[in-house]
């Protein structure tokens, strides 16, 4: 899923400062699941902002709505009734959601309530770890199912580097060395031999370095 975390309250308050009526929009998909932008977080954030305004004596109204996905035009369309009543939208969706709402309602400012951080998974309740960098050219078959692009600090294709110690990465002791994991996993698979092959430089054009990416399925287009 897409992982995002809420922006600091101070930053959100600065963003909404010019507006008198704000629609806080939640998204029912990835950010609900990573507990940062679902209906509950919308309610909690809106209440917090109301309280903060009450303390400062600001007159501002908040409207709350959560839709199934902020990255689909049809769902965003459900916001229309509320959007027309407010002078700004605060999206608790990922960056895609913010942009899509802005695209559908170009007349109104759409503000990001979250920082979108990564593609990952919860390793335990309350902890999310990044495991995919969306590079567009998957090599997980060669690395025992562990992605060195997302999980090695240097995105090395021929690791580990000299900073690997005791299975940890030199950047922090709570970060496992991805290449130590690759080594261990390939050992279990009996494929350590494959580590002797030097991997050539990666084609980064699929990773966005060749400009914004687009997927087209001609068979599905109308």
């Amino acid at each position: 899923m897409i992982i995002a975390e809420q922006k600091p309250l101070k930053e959100i308050r600065e963003m909404i400062a010019p507006y008198k009526k704000v629609l806080v929009v939640g998204c029912g998909t990835c950010v609900t699941v990573c507990l940062s932008g679902g209906e509950k977080e919308v309610g909690v954030l809106a209440s917090t902002l109301r309280l903060a305004d009450a303390v400062d004596g600001n007159e501002r109204e908040f409207v709350e709505q959560t839709i199934t996905r902020q990255c689909e035009d049809e769902f965003i369309e459900q916001l229309r009734g509320n959007v027309e009543k407010v002078d700004a939208v605060l999206s608790l969706g990922c960056g895609v959601g913010v942009q899509d709402i802005a695209a559908i309602f170009p007349e109104i400012p759409v503000l990001p309530g979250l920082n979108t951080t990564s593609f990952g998974r919860p390793s335990e309740q309350g902890v999310w770890v990044e495991e995919c960098a969306g590079c567009g050219d998957c090599i997980l078959d060669e690395t025992g199912g562990i992605c060195p692009i997302a999980r090695c600090a240097k995105n090395l294709l021929n690791g580990p580097c000299g900073g690997s110690h005791g299975g940890k990465c030199e950047i922090s002791d709570d970060t496992p060395c991805a290449w130590a994991l690759v080594y261990e996993r390939l050992g279990r698979l009996g494929k350590l031999k494959t580590l002797e092959e030097i991997k050539p430089a990666k084609n980064w054009s699929t990773a966005g370095h060749g400009g914004p990416r687009k997927m087209v399925r001609e068979d599905l287009r109308k």
Partner: protein
Amino acid sequence: MLPNGINDDNNPVGAVMVVGGGISGMQASLDLASSGIKVYLVESSPALGGKMVQLDKTFPTNDCATCIVSPKLVDVARNPNIKLMTYSEVLSVSGSAGDFHVKIKQKTRYVDMDKCTGCGECARVCVWRGRVSSEFDAGMGKRGAAYIPFAQSVPLVATIDPNSCLLFTRGKGRCAAPCSKNCGPKAIDFEMQDSEIEIDVGAVIAAPGYELYDATLSEELGYGRYPNVLTSIQFERLLSASGPTRGKVLRPSDQEEPHKIAFLQCVGSRDQKHNYCSSVCCMYSTKEAMLAKEHAPGTDISVFMMDIRAFGKGFDAYYERAKNEHGIKYIRCRPSSLKEIPSSKSLLIRYESEDGRILEEEYDMVVLAVGMEPAKRVGELAERLGIKLSAEGFCKTDEFAPLDTSRPGIFACGPFVEPMDIPDSVMTGSGAAAQALALVSRSRDTLVSEKEYPPEIDTSGEEPRIGVFVCHCGTNIAGVVDVKSVAEYASQLPGVVRAETTIYACAQDNIQTLKLKMKEFGLNRLVIAACSPRTHEPLFSDTIREVGINPFMFEMANIRDQCSWVHSKEPDKATDKSKDLVRMAVARSRLLEPLYKTKLGVNSKAVVIGGGVAGMTAALSLADQGFGVFLVEREPQLGGNLHKLRYSVSGEDYRPFVDSLVERVMSNPLIDVITQATVTALTGFLGNYKMTIVEPGGQRVIEHGAVVVATGGREYRGEEYLYGQDSHVLTQLELEQKIADSPGEIAKVKNVVMIQCVGPAAKSGGYCSRVCCTTSLKNAIRIKEMNPDANVYVIAKDIRTYGFKEQVYTEARSKGVIFLRYEEGHEPKVERVDGRLRITANDHVLHEPVTLDADLLVLTTGIVPSEGNDILAPALKVPLTKEGFFLEAHIKLRPVDFASEGIFVCGLAHYPKFIGESIAQALAAAARAATVLSRPQLEVGGSVAVVEQRKCAGCLTCVRVCPYKIPKINANGVAEIEVAECHGCGTCVAECPAKAIQLMHYRDGQVTAKAEALFAEVI
């Protein structure tokens, strides 16, 4: 025909008398009552709760004692099948098992229990208030002649103590009796007399508990003469927020905080007059020391002890925490006396340090860890019950029938059997209930009654018609709050049809008035502004149900505990706050919805996993109670560890016992023994489980209503001290087999060395296996008996022969077994020199290393969990401890239950223990399982979590946060919460990121309505 008219000669009376209302007796009563048996709970003091209610916290979790025990008190009080007979004594028991006739004396309280509302006014006006030593505060606090023992007393009624009341001590007319004049409900009557009641019961459970040793008898320790020498229970009362100092530890001599405290262990235990260990003092002193440190972190605390007996689940870790995190010093010395320094009233203790120096140290306060003694009047009680006592004055029981007294049909539990802690008391309470159930289960449900209600009125679609009743609670509320103005205010609130005041809302006559008003004004919701829903909600819910209104249409505003009591100095503000509280309650009441419970059938068969002594005992107890049992055993034969053991501590041969046990199980028509089978999955819920088991013939699914886990444990085997490399190195189990099977070899040995705490206890964060000290000494004594010339050395850290096992330690010493001590990190060394074993250890008397050449080296290796627990636990969805034993729902009060209802644990699967303890726990598991299996149907639903599936994102948050592991993501990818399993705790509701879950009766709207009503005037 018996007087109750429903029994004939063949059927036992479907009632049981429990004598003693401490934690053990209460547990027995609750288990019996939940299994369809009428219970008479006879308690000699005015209130239930025994010793536990006096405690501040409990070891080893530091749980608040009152917080965990008071729900039990309330459960007992509310249970319609338990007849409470407090302030009562058993006079005689005639008849025989199944048909006892009991005479009981009910002492008069001079207070009519039916009228008394527990308002406490009499205690407040008693002229003798604050002048009588309070039993509850162990003499540290004072009460009056009219008193309620403590705030959570059950029953919550006053008692007039004739030993201090002036009307009795000085005669009529010597007191104006303000208690009687001020009593609102006119409950006090000085003419009341003791009464005698006769009852018929099928069985009796004796749970009279214990008394603490009278420390004045240990004159050398100065208790009673030196004010700053306290007993442990007095110190406990000082620690308690409900105690006389409101939780401040102060020296009685000058009310100053002590900076240096000493605890003296074994006062009234392990001495010339007490040939047993009281089992609990090491841990309670550790607890009290830790709490004292938490109260005042700088306090310097020393515990003077002989051995630290941290033998239970989690105890060793607790002891380590006390030493390492709290810096509590443990000094291995038993000071023979102490002196007071007259000027400061501090105490001087002279002791010998470990390295042999004589030291003298001054302490501001000394706490005596007083031991357990049989209750003083237990001899009299035993005589009346016709049961025998042991030489120590406790109940005489048998190793293989640990809860049976000498008289058939009378069972025992709690510290009456042997000094024991709270979990063991709860366990034996349930166990004794199982024994009684086996005897009377044929008459289940004959003497209990189910209440009949009129059909419920459909109020859906009606506008809220709320009645508000504001209680005076005598002067408790009305003395501070202007209740009339609160009622007037309430009558103006939207939806309120009728608002009035009432003197005592909970008094019987007022309940009748309440019902009439409900009908007269066509009320469909009730708000009571009075005391706590904790004690009174069930009463009022039930009252509205009696007039056909759904019981969930009730709301309470606590204007007593949360208002008049805390704001007694500010009546105006208290009145305003009462109005706020009532406004909130009314706001929620408007949004209440009727909820209905549904009934589900119960499969009355049980599965017992494991065919060792615990599993077989549980299976037999359940079968004796009339339930079908599937006994699933992994091995081809039943018996478990019993086949490996040879003789018990008292020298009894295990073989006849195990043979008869197996024979009884195999021949019981209600027990289906399935051997060579393993459990792979469990689905369903309480009362309706499906278990998949794999046996040689294939796989099958068993339908049943409850599960007992009794998978046992095994002796640890490792590579320590040349084990496995030298044939002269044995484990204790191997030694026991050798002693029994090849006595000739043992007769020839000259030197035997035993090393204690090898294996699980030696590892960091290790645990004590509870049985090994006693087992080693049992074997050491055997060797000495077979071969008096042999030298037997036991090298140990502490000798943990708790309870009556202390006598084995005494016997070993008297037979010449030599004890050496080692400290952690200074373990003995073992090497092979010229083909012989050489052990080097430190001699703690000489302070020098000694070298021992051994013919036999015996390793005391402890008990580890059974293999496969790590597979079974997830299959049953129950947790394990980090050591791999099964983890019960609550270490103190639910020692055989899992958090998942309908699954129970016993024997070594729970923790290492003796066979007698395994039997007791197995019986307990059977009693607990019976509370499920005996119900014809289960009522489910009501205030449970409900998923709005349309909103669910399938995020798994509820699945992960539920403490009972109930929510599941179903085939449609959305959460599902089984109504029958949900405990209604609301954790998932709070965490759900999509707001897809609501807790019925506490919907968001219903809760926020209260908050909005509260702030309505300020926002």
